[in-house]
Symmetry: none
Subunit: 207 residues, 4 copies
C-alpha cells in the first residue's frame, strides 16, 4: 500500500512535469526562448510559479529538459528505424521515412531542436549541445555502418567515405524536411522518401 501510494504520487508528478513541458514547448516554439517569461509558462501550464521551480531549477533547465526529452525520443526512434529492414537499402529507407514522420508529428519541437543543434546553438549556454551531439554522432555512426556494410557486400559502390555518406544523408533529409516545414505544399519529401534517396542512390548503387 505504501508503495502504491508513492507510485501514484510519482505518476502524478510525472504528469505534472509533462504538462509543464508541453506548455513551455507551445510557448517557446511560438515566441522563442527569450520572449517567453516563466510567469507566462506557469500561467499557460496552470501551475503556480513556485511549482514550476520545484520541477526545474531555472529557466534554462526547463528549456534544456524540454529539448533533451524530445531529442532522446527522436534518437530512440531513429536508432530503432535502422534496425528494421532486411538489407541496407531497406534500413536507409526506414531511417528516411521515420525521420520524416518525426518531423511531421512534432513540428513545433523541431524548430526548437534545430535552433539548438544547428548554428544557432549559442542561444543557450552549451552543455545541451554536448549530449545532443553525442546522440547525433551515434546516429551517424550507425548510418555509416550501414553504408560500410553495403559496400562490403558490394551492394554500394565506394563513392565516398561511409561516414561522409552518413553525414550527407542526414543533411539532405534534414534540409528537405525543413523546406517542407516552411512550405508543405511545395515539397514532396515526407510523403515520398525515395525522392531524396535517389539523389544519393543513383551514384551509389551498383547498376
Amino acid at each position: 500500500m505504501r508503495k502504491e501510494k508513492l507510485t501514484r504520487r510519482e505518476k502524478e508528478k510525472r504528469r505534472q512535469r509533462q504538462d509543464m513541458l508541453t506548455a513551455s514547448l507551445e510557448l517557446f516554439s511560438e515566441k522563442g526562448y527569450h520572449n517567453v517569461s516563466m510567469q507566462e509558462i506557469a500561467e499557460h501550464a496552470e501551475f503556480a510559479l513556485g511549482t514550476l521551480y520545484k520541477f526545474f531549477k531555472n529557466k534554462e533547465d526547463l528549456y534544456t529538459s524540454l529539448i533533451m526529452e524530445h531529442a532522446k525520443k527522436f534518437h530512440d526512434k531513429l536508432m530503432q528505424s535502422m534496425d528494421d529492414g532486411d538489407d541496407e537499402i531497406e534500413k536507409l529507407r526506414n531511417y528516411v521515412r521515420t525521420k520524416g514522420e518525426i518531423f511531421v508529428n512534432d513540428v513545433s519541437v523541431i524548430r526548437l531542436y534545430f535552433a539548438e543543434s544547428q548554428g544557432a546553438s549559442f542561444n543557450i549556454k552549451a552543455g545541451l549541445d554536448k549530449e545532443i551531439l553525442e546522440d547525433c554522432e551515434k546516429h551517424l555512426q550507425k548510418l555509416a555502418q550501414i553504408f560500410a556494410s553495403g559496400m562490403k557486400r558490394k551492394r554500394f559502390r565506394q563513392i565516398a567515405d561511409p561516414y561522409h555518406l552518413a553525414v550527407a544523408l542526414d543533411s539532405l533529409t534534414t534540409t528537405f524536411l525543413l523546406l517542407w516545414l516552411e512550405k508543405p505544399e511545395q515539397h514532396p519529401y515526407p510523403e515520398d522518401p525515395d525522392g531524396i534517396l535517389n539523389i544519393l542512390f543513383q551514384g551509389l548503387i551498383h547498376p
Copy 2:
C-alpha cells in the same frame, strides 16, 4: 578642399561604423544576441553608448545591419562564382570552392548567419529573414539553372529535379562546412571541394 574635408569625415564615419559592427560581431557570435548588452558593445568598440545610438537606431537595427552587410557580401561573391567557369561542372566547382572560402574567412559571422537563415529564425523579428531568404532563393535558382543546362546538354543525367539538386548541393556544402567549423582538423572540405561534389556527381554525371 571642401570636398576633401567631407570625404575625410565620411571615411571616418565609415570606419567608426565598421568598428562598431566588428565589435558587435565578436560579441554576438560569441554570446548570442540576447546575451550581449548595448553597453557591452559600446565598451568593446570603445565608443560611448550614445555614439552607438547615433549610428544604429536600436539594438535590432545594429544586429540587422551586421547580418545584412555580410549576407549581401556573401551573396555577391557566390553569384559571381557561378559565372566563372567554362562548363557546368566548372561552375559548380567554383561555387563550392567559393563557399568554402567564405566560411574559412568569416567564421564568426557564419554562425550568426546560420542562426538567422536556418531554423532559429524566430529569435529576431522577421523582415531580416525575408531579404536573406530572397537572396538564398536566387542562389538556388541559379544553381538549378546550371543543373538544368547540364541536363539539356546531356552532361548530366536527369536523376532529379534541377531545383532539388540545387537544394541538395547547397545543403551538403553547408553541412560539411559547419562540420569543419566545429572540428577543422577532422574534415577535409574547404581544402578539397571535389570530395563533396563527387557524392552528387557519381550518380549525376553520364559515365
Copy 3:
C-alpha cells in the same frame, strides 16, 4: 474562513496601493511629474520597484490613477454639496464652503489637479483630461441650473447667462483658494465663504 482570508489580502492590497499613491502624491506635488522617477517613488513608498509595477502598469498609469482617484472624490463631494440647502442661495453657499474644505484638506493634490485641469494640460497625454473635464462640466451644469432656478423664482436678477455665472463662481472660488494656498494668512476665503459670494450676489440678488 476562506472569505476572511481573501478579504484580508484584499485589504492589504488596498493599503499598499494607497501607500504608493500617497508616496507618489507627495513627490509629484513637490517636484512635478517629470522630475520624479519611479525608483524614487518606490523608495519613498518603501516598496521595491517591481512591486510598484505590479500595481500600476507604468508611470503614467500611476499618475493618472492618483489624479482620478482624488478628482472623483472631489466631484462627488461637490455634487452632493449642491443638493444640500433649502434654496438657491443656501446651495451655492454649500458649494463654496465645501470647495473650501476640499482645498484645505487636500492641499497637495490640489496642485496636481490644477496642473491638469487648467492650462498646463499638455504635460501628460490627454485622456485624463477628458474624464476630468466631463466632471467639471457636470459641476458647471448643476451650478448653472441653480442660477437658472433662482432666476425663474425671481430670487436672482438676470444679470448674465446662468452658465456664465456658474463659470464665474467656479473661477472666483478657485482663484481665491489658490491665493489662500500660497499665502494662507493673507486671504480669508476658506473660513469666510460669504466674502466671495458677495461679489456676485451684490449685483445678482434682487434687493
Copy 4:
C-alpha cells in the same frame, strides 16, 4: 564706423535670439517642455546646437527667457491699458479689452504662460514664478487702485475690498479667455468684453 559695425552685430544677435525663442515657443507650446529636445529646437530654429548654448546657458534658461520675454510684454501692455481712459469704468474696460487682445494674438505663448503662473508652476524650478508673480502683483495693485479710486469718487459701491475686486476681475477675465481658447466658437468674451464686466458691475456700480 566701429560703433556701427558693433551695432549691426548686436542687431544680428538680437534677431538670432528672437528666431531661437520663436522656434522654441512653437515647439514648447505644441509638445510641452519635457517633450522637446534641444536638438529639436536647434534644428527647427536652423541653428547649430552649440549656437543655442551660446545664447542660453541651458534648456531651463531658454524656457525661462521665453516666458519672461512675453510676460514682460504682456505686463507692459496691460499696465498701459489701465492708464488710458477718462474714468475708472473706461480704464477697466480698456484692461479687459487689452487682455482679450493679448490672448487672441498670442495664443501659443498663453498656454505656456498659464502652465507656469497657475497651479502647475512646479514644472520648472521656481525663480521664474517670482518675477512673474511680482508683475502680476503690480497689475492687481493698479487694478485695486482703480477700484479704490472709483469707490472714493462714489462711482462704485463698496461691495468688497478693492484688492479682492482686482483679483476677481483678473480671475474672471482669465477664465473666460481660457474657455474661449479651448472652444472659440462657443464663448463670446474677446469680442464682447462688456459681458464679463457686467457680472461685476451689476452689483458694483451705483444705480
